[in-house]
């Protein structure tokens, strides 16, 4: 082994930078990780000799299993909706002139940064029986009784997709704008019709962005609370609502913690599988910048 006499200058510099990370790291460990860890421990120590009973009890109740199914189902439908709406939008952003693309981007960013509560509340106002849509249709005489749009799965999907759409569009756009237009010209030169070029060259190249967007939206949808609580019916309850109820109403910390651990486990499992296909840092990074 070659022994390198360490440059004292270099060594000092290295340590100095590392020190800067400590305040934030300690902060996160104490105020963020510790809560999660103690909660996880609580899932098996509350009541004191619970062991795994909180978990087994969870799977024993129908309502819980239904909530679990709902969670996955709603998350899946939301992801699908965002994909169907978001892909054309992101594509549109790549083909319009710069100024318009900027406006379209703002169209996505402004809601993105607006309060989730405000937006969900707005959908409540729009979808409820005396809401904007129903009043509009009733006044026009198109319907005689208000449509049930709220407290339905559909209502939840509409609201959640609205909130999650930017998380689908941003990663997709980031990938799409990097696709070299030369590929399109090459395809045309080799005899491909425009739709053929789109389907066989552009779409495959855009898949990493699609993957990243779908992953982000799905994972975020799993943990949604506010939107399903305001827009969903009793039968659409998601895991997060169960967790909150266990604490606020049943005061059952053990069960709530167990459910929380389950939700975390599912989230991380998805992320782990996905990390084989996409760079997680890019996925979350694009959602956090600008």
């Amino acid at each position: 082994m070659k022994i390198e006499r360490p440059g004292r200058l270099r060594g000092l510099a290295r340590d100095r930078w590392a020190v800067l990370v400590l305040p934030a790291l300690v902060f996160l460990v104490v105020f963020f990780l510790a809560p999660l860890v103690t909660m996880s421990i609580r899932s098996i120590t509350d009541p004191p000799d619970a062991g795994l009973s909180n978990y087994t009890e969870f799977f024993g109740q129908d309502a819980n299993l239904r909530a679990l199914r709902n969670t996955f189902w709603i998350a899946f439908l939301s992801t699908l909706t965002c994909l169907l709406v978001g892909y054309p939008y992101a594509y549109l952003m790549t083909i319009v002139p710069g100024r318009v693309a900027g406006l379209l981007l703002i169209g996505v960013l402004l809601p993105f940064w607006s309060s989730l509560l405000v937006r969900t509340f707005a959908w409540q106002v729009i979808l409820r029986d005396t809401g904007v849509i129903n009043t509009f249709l009733l006044d026009l005489g198109l319907i005689s009784e208000p449509l049930t749009l709220i407290r339905t799965t559909g209502g939840v999907i509409i609201g959640m997709s609205h909130i999650l759409l930017p998380f689908m569009v941003l990663p997709m756009y980031a990938v799409m704008r990097r696709i070299d237009p030369e590929f399109g010209r090459a395809a045309a030169n080799l005899g491909a019709t425009p739709s053929s070029a789109f389907l066989r060259v552009f779409v495959p190249l855009s898949l990493p962005g699609v993957l990243a967007g779908c992953l982000l939206v799905f994972v975020l949808a799993l943990g949604f609370y506010i939107t399903p609580a305001l827009l969903g019916g009793l039968r659409d309850q998601m895991i997060s609502q169960l967790i909150v109820d266990e604490i606020q109403q049943a005061l059952d910390w053990g069960s709530a913690s167990a459910m929380a651990v389950l939700l975390m486990a599912v989230t991380f499992a998805f992320l782990f599988v996905a990390s084989r296909f996409v760079h997680l840092r890019d996925v979350f990074g694009s959602a956090v910048e600008e």
């Binding site: 902060f27 940064w113 989730l116 991380f268």
Partner: protein
């Protein structure tokens, strides 16, 4: 320009785009007019024009104290998160220590873990530490949530900055402290400001963690709204919503301006 891909039927694509934008902006476009209604229930279109609900926001004890609390928490969060996050970003981008990747991953976890879980976890532990229901507790919680935004934004600024500039500063006689103050900081300032603004917005709009870490005596605006929204809905809620939106939009526009002014690399 992607002329050769598929020259789409322009109209169709434009229509889809417009529809999507409408979908994205519709909720806010509905709420804002509603806040100016004269009637005492929320209706669309609004009847008449009145600022009474905005008045109500300032005169009603609960709303006004909620606003003051939200402001306090958001400002303190922004300051704390920006300081911690900028230091961390410096350490992560410039340092070469083992475990750097792990620290990077930890810094992003607040974004990944569902906020409900974070909320009850913090609630449980903060109650034990007796900081739940206090300004301190909420600021600490929101700072944890905001840190990723600061670290990513400042980190990007640092990474895209020309490293030779720091070498040049050292060569010209600046010790590390002066090099940071005179050269690095001015150049990454847009990133730092972006992080600060995102931290503010994150705290200002945050509701789930706040639900658990606030009490009847100490509430933020979003929590106040959450309580109201599920029962009576008088248009004050719309006024509050509009206020929340306006503050956020102004800050975002400010951010755009800051980014334009940046001297680049």
């Amino acid at each position: 320009m992607t002329e050769s891909w598929r020259q789409p039927r322009r109209l169709l694509m434009a229509a889809l785009g417009a529809l999507t934008v409408f979908y994205l902006l519709a909720p806010t476009l509905v709420i804002i007019p509603m806040s100016f209604t004269e009637a005492s229930i929320m209706s669309f279109p609004p009847e008449g024009f009145s600022l009474q609900w905005y008045e109500r926001m300032f005169t009603d004890r609960q709303w006004s104290s909620g606003m003051v609390n939200s402001l306090e928490v958001a400002v303190l969060t922004a300051i704390l998160a920006t300081v911690l996050g900028t230091l961390a970003a410096l350490g992560l981008t410039r340092g070469r220590f083992p475990g750097r990747n792990i620290v990077n991953a930890i810094a992003l976890t607040p974004l990944i873990v569902p906020v409900v879980i974070i909320a009850i976890g913090m609630f449980s532990l903060f109650v034990q530490w007796r900081i739940s229901g206090s300004l301190l507790g909420l600021v600490l919680a929101h700072t944890a949530l905001a840190l990723p935004f600061v670290i990513v934004n400042v980190g990007t600024s640092l990474r895209t900055m020309d490293r030779n500039l720091e070498l040049a500063a050292a060569n010209l006689g600046a010790d590390p402290r002066r090099s940071f103050m005179r050269i690095t900081l001015p150049i990454i300032l847009p990133g730092v400001l972006a992080g600060a603004i995102f931290s503010f917005i994150t705290s200002w709009d945050e509701v789930v963690v706040a639900i658990f870490l606030t009490t009847a005596r100490f509430r933020t605006l979003p929590v106040e709204m959450w309580e109201q929204v599920r029962q009576v809905v008088d248009p004050t809620v719309a006024a509050v919503s509009t206020t929340l939106l306006v503050v956020t939009t102004v800050l975002l526009l400010l951010l755009l301006v800051v980014r334009r002014q940046a001297p680049a690399r």
